[in-house]
Amino acid sequence: MDAVIEVKDLDLAYDDFVVMNGINFSVKKGEIFIVMGGSGCGKSTLLKAMIGLNPPHKGKVLYNGLSFWDEDERSRQDIMCRFGVLYQGGALWSSLTLRENVALPLQLYSNLSASQIQDMAAFKLGLVGLGGYADFYPAELSGGMKKRAGLARAIALDPEFIFFDEPSAGLDPLSAKMLDDLILDLRDNLGATIVVVTHELASIFAVGDNAILLDADTKTVIAQGAPKDLLANSKDPRVISFLTRGEKQGAGR
């Protein structure tokens, strides 16, 4: 299968502060791709460059062969319509109820009638287990519930590319498992291509087809491949200790 997302020689920086150098990877259609790395190493920054929020310092991000940051505003917008994004903190619109939050993308980009949109919103909220909370405002929810509502909004339009920033952080083990199943369902049944930023080992092994590991010290990608292969075959002590929570220090040490 072809690569639908390609990241080429990407450098990330905030002004003079370099976050990452020379990131290269590609994501195939229908794949669940994991971005791993320690806290503060630049995972969210990478995601922001991929979804069009912060232009990268250098390099390209290609979607189906189109170089995102080299396109004009309009075609960038066309690509962005096909994204669903779950932000690290949920990022729900605080002046809208959950129902309205999920309905807003539908109002923008679907041709459904108002009542169909309401049904859709209720259905998506039900998928993440928040069916009963449709009329709540985000401020009235717990952190984990906000995450799930954010997820319902991210998948409102059945997007082609879904980006998750630490979806299971702040969820209890059962909800986290439910979320993993949901991610697999989205891929299997909607054919979405999914990029997940996470350091939850259980999820990494449960859902990840492919992964990269970012390293804050060298500011580069230090490993790439299927998580299980990485664990079985990697010779790099940093990779092994990340994937085993430091319990095995790897061959090198």
């Binding site: 002004d15 003079d16 502060f17 922001k48 979804i51 069009g52 929020l53 917008q77 962005m80 319509c81 994204f83 994004v85 932000y87 690290q88 903190g89 990022a91 729900l92 619109w93 605080s94 002046s95 807003l104 993308p105 923008l108 909004r153």
Partner: protein
Amino acid sequence: MDRYIRSLFYLQNNFTFIYKAFRSKITLMDKTPSEKLIFDYSKPKALQLKISGDWQLSAGLPLVSEVLTQLDSHKDIAELSFVVSRDFKWDSAFISFLFKLSRVCKEKNILLDAQGLPEKVEKLLPLIPAQSEKIISRKVSEEPLLESIGSRVIGVKDAAFSVLNFLGDIVLAFKRFVCGRAFFRKDDFFVILQRCGVDALGLVSLITVLVGMILAFIGAIQLKMFGAQIYIADIVGIAMVRVMGAVMTGVLMSGRTGASFAAELGIMQSNEEIDALKTLGVSPAEFLVLPRVLALVIMMPLLTIYADLMGIIGGFAISIGVLGLNPIEYFNHTVTAVKVSNLWLGLIHGFVFGIIIAVSGCYRGMRCERSSAGVGEATTSAVVTAITSIVIATAIITFVCQIIGV
């Protein structure tokens, strides 16, 4: 009486507290820091630290630099060891002392022998990172004077561009709104309209009635000398309608609505709500800024008219109630003095101030840093920007009116 007794008790309690603290200080002072640490050079090429007494946070402890001066004066030392006495007490303050000491020893290639230390301390020692942690350099803004002046000038230019950019976005959003293609929720718009209109009436009434009263009193003192007190009606009417009503409303609304716009948008910015709009292809200028600007631009002229009326009522009340003027005469004077052109001028002020307040509030909110301190800063600077701009705008309008003779 009861209260006095209670406060006496309170005082007494305090005194006991201070006395106890004083006494405990004395008992703690049993060893001075220099007595807690004794240097022993009895073995060749080795220094033994004899440690005793209380080495806890609350007691205070010797400085590492004391050991350092000892090491500097005995260059041949290759090993450092410890002996602790029975009365030795420690907490993390001692660990931090050791932490620094181990760094020093590493630099000087001296062997640190921890065997003499209590077992638990020995176990904590491996937690100390082997190398000093890399300090990740932040951008620090310590520039030479000339350079900082230069970068400020460039900063002003950048700020001007970004304000113009922002205004441009609003104009474009307005154009799309006129064409019916803008995406904003009517519900949101009406909520904002209510918040910056009806909800502000109480405050505006209170302040402008008082301003009208003050104007009447001040006018009365001067006009009494000429026996022309009835002209208070003219002064209050013209002053309120021409500028005071609009300026007072503007200042009030800067503090009330401008600040709340900045805080709302600032918090949305730090919650990534604005990012979420952008990835969905919704322009924040359309969805968030435009309804706020429109609401305030509609409401400010209306509030101004209301404020004018309230001010005139305030002046009327004082003139009739306190100064004893004839109500009918007062009314007639007001009606003849306040011309339609004055009313228009007041409305123009209100309109301009509406734009100023909404734009500075939204601008500061959208440019807010992603932290709670950032939101506070955005709010403050929104109010300051709005009030300053209001005063400047008033000066310009007054000057222009002078020239064209309105």
